[in-house]
């Protein structure tokens, strides 16, 4: 037993104490908070006829800068939300910071250049939104118009 082990013990005890106080020593959270009404991703370049949001990330995501931030808004502001996010591509991860209302999309090195759809949803109400990130300049993103044919 030495001082290094004591430091480790202190860290473990501290973590356990915070958990114990949170679980047994905290006041119950008020149930007055309203449910989520909407989740909206506001940062996109265009929207197709089905309402799919598309964003060009060609100039923003690269080998040296591989974390892309997607801001979102949740209404009402003080709603009882449990926000989750995911992507449709393995190797591209989405993490939510619901305090900052931002989704961080992390591209693996071999996935830079891959089109990915990021979905965000509230676990309680299942209300969701999504945006597709593409590695094309906005002018080259072709929206298929179903009315042409």
């Amino acid at each position: 037993m030495n001082k290094k082990m004591v430091v480790l013990l202190v860290l473990i005890l501290s973590a356990l104490s915070i958990m114990a106080i949170s679980v047994w020593g905290s006041l119950p959270e008020s149930n007055n908070r309203p449910s989520v009404v909407s989740i909206t991703i506001t940062d996109f370049d265009l929207q197709n006829g089905d309402g799919d949001k598309i964003k060009s990330v060609k100039d923003q995501v690269s080998e040296d800068d591989y974390i892309y931030k997607i801001p979102f808004t949740v209404t009402p502001i003080n709603s009882d939300s449990k926000i989750k996010a995911s992507t449709n591509q393995p190797g591209i991860t989405a993490r939510v910071d619901d305090m900052e209302s931002v989704i961080y999309v992390i591209f693996d090195i071999d996935k830079i250049g891959t089109t990915v759809t990021v979905t965000i949803w509230d676990k309680n109400t299942q209300i969701s939104d999504e945006v597709t990130l593409m590695f094309l300049p906005p002018s080259e993103i072709i929206i298929v118009d179903p009315d042409i044919f």
Binding site: M1, S14, S17, I21, W24, G25, D65, M99, D108, I109
Partner: protein
């Protein structure tokens, strides 16, 4: 030259790592065991990475690998720098090695080779299993494992070469600071203040009231982002990570080899020529401090011993810091912890739990700082002879040491609680000062108990022979007793405060006082009986 280099390296290795093949079968068995160990560690790493990936949703990708390599190599650079500083320029074996019929450059190179081998073996036991585990989890191709094989030999070169270069200016800075103690103290305090300010800045980011689940998620997200974005700043290790992953392999190999060549040239042109000059410059008389004084008879024997303790402690800053390092960490830990406690919407029960945990963690930290008391007699070493031959009641030496340790410890604890009160005004003042009383009483009792442990089993000869207190069993015993005391008092506090707050505090303090009185009584009796029995 190669032959001499080999011999010099083997001499140092056999001394440092007890590398000796006495029995071929045993050696092979040892190797097989080490290989098995490696396999076990790899399997454990696979489970760890699986947990990180599937439970905590931390992406296990090339950036993660770069982060792990970066962190482990930073640690290696620091360890190699401090190790090489001593080994190259201050090691006692220089007197032997430099007198051998070998060139100074060969001695220098052999020392770097020894460090390289040490780093190589360290990487084998942690980093390589981690890389293999990562490859398994991510189903990477065969070329990845081939690249690991080359990196096993290339990676250890970087910290060793870097350390050989940066150890020189660091050595000069250290020497300068050794002479200018006041400047060192100012720098340390400034560093402490910056760390505290940094901590307060970080904690201010946490929104209150603290919701632990949200805070936990934010924490995991922040850690993930930190790990993932660190690859941008990992420089050469970012290149190595990408190389392992198969990205621009040839170009990245070129960069790595280029960097190593540059470092080698720097070592060849800067460190190697300076080695002999620096190693042969004796440090023995480098610091001759004059402390003018008068011959003066002390008022009492107790004061003689107390003055000696005080003087030696003030002039041994390294030992002081080593003894009281946990007390130095104490305010930071207590501040962060209580900031979080206060941020949680607590019930009355929760507030009492907070006090109990505060007492427990405070006691754990302060009692673990009483290692000076647990070795108070042992550190006398050969000088204990003076106490045996002197025609005085030299038991007073024990009381002087106890008094000194109690005063130093209590003053630091007082300062910490003052800081606690000032930095967390939301915390109830009576609670803070009642906690202070409990901590002081229990800590003082623990000081006496620790001293008693050393009194009954002093390691005078060990200390006299080695001047070292590492692996001292009295220190371990003292720390374990401190741990038990902190759990007991934490538990008693929780129980009594929950029963009734006001009478609870009175009872806790009474119990602490009784503990102190009992330890005082036992210590003074043991001292009377056993001090004179100590023989050197």
């Amino acid at each position: 030259m190669l032959r001499r280099l080999f011999i010099l390296t083997m001499i140092q290795l056999s001394s440092k790592m007890k590398l000796k093949i006495t029995n071929k079968k045993r050696f092979i068995a040892n190797l097989a065991l080490r290989f098995l160990g490696l396999v076990v560690v790899t399997v454990v790493m696979i489970f760890m990475l699986y947990f990180l990936s599937k439970v905590l949703y931390v992406p296990i990708n090339v950036y993660f690998v770069i982060f792990v390599i970066f962190i482990t190599q930073i640690a290696s650079i620091i360890a190699c720098t401090t190790g090489l500083m001593v080994d190259l320029y201050e090691s006692k074996d220089n007197a032997i090695l430099l007198s051998f019929p070998a060139k100074h450059d060969e001695v220098f190179t052999s020392k770097l080779v020894v460090f390289y081998i040490n780093e190589f073996l360290k990487n084998l036991s942690f980093l390589v299993p981690m890389l293999i585990a990562f490859g398994f989890i991510s189903s990477l191709p065969f070329t990845y494992y081939f690249n690991i094989l080359t990196m096993i030999f290339i990676l250890p070169l970087l910290p060793v070469l870097l350390a050989a270069i940066i150890s020189i200016p660091i050595m000069y800075i250290r020497q300068f600071l050794r002479v200018h103690n006041t400047l060192t103290l100012i720098l340390l305090i400034t560093f402490g203040v910056f760390v505290f300010l940094g901590l307060t800045g970080l904690l201010d980011e946490i929104p209150t009231p603290i919701r632990i689940v949200a805070l936990y998620n934010k924490f995991i997200t922040s850690v993930t982002l930190f790990i993932q974005s660190s690859a941008k700043y990992a420089s050469i290790y970012g290149v190595i990570g990408r190389l392992l992953y198969g990205v621009n392999v040839l170009a990245n190999y070129g960069i790595v080899i280029g960097v190593i060549i540059v470092l080698m040239l720097m070592v060849l042109l800067i460190s190697r020529p300076l080695f002999f000059k620096l190693a042969s410059h004796t440090q023995e008389y480098a610091v001759t401090k004059k402390h003018r004084g008068k011959n003066k008879r002390s008022k009492s024997l107790f004061w003689t011993f107390f003055k000696k303790e005080f003087t030696i402690s003030m002039r041994s800053s390294n030992e002081m810091i080593s003894n009281y390092v946990l007390l130095i960490l104490f305010p930071f830990i207590v501040y962060v912890l209580n900031y979080i406690y206060i941020g949680i919407d607590r019930s009355t029960f929760g507030t009492k739990l907070v006090i109990a945990f505060d007492i427990m963690i405070s006691l754990l930290l302060v009692t673990a700082s009483n290692t000076a008391s647990a070795t108070a007699i042992s550190v006398e070493g050969s000088e204990f002879v003076l106490l045996k031959t002197a025609p005085s009641d030299t038991k007073k030496m024990a009381w002087a040491k106890v008094a000194f340790n109690m005063i130093a410890s209590s003053l630091m604890i007082l300062l910490i609680f003052i800081l606690f009160q000032l930095s967390l005004p939301q915390f109830s003042d009576p609670d803070i000062w009642l906690m202070f009383v409990v901590v002081i009483l229990v800590n003082s009792g623990h000081i006496l108990w620790s001293f008693q442990i050393d009194l009954l089993n002093p390691k005078l000869s060990d200390y006299a022979a080695t001047a070292s207190l590492s692996n001292n069993e009295n220190v371990s015993k003292s720390i374990i007793i401190g741990l038990v005391l902190s759990i007991i008092f934490g538990g008693i506090s929780a129980f009594l405060l929950i029963e009734d707050y006001v009478t609870g505090w009175i009872r806790i303090i009474l119990i602490a006082l009784v503990f102190f009185v009992v330890r005082f009584y036992l210590f003074s009796n043991f001292l009377k009986v056993y001090f004179r029995e100590i023989e050197f």
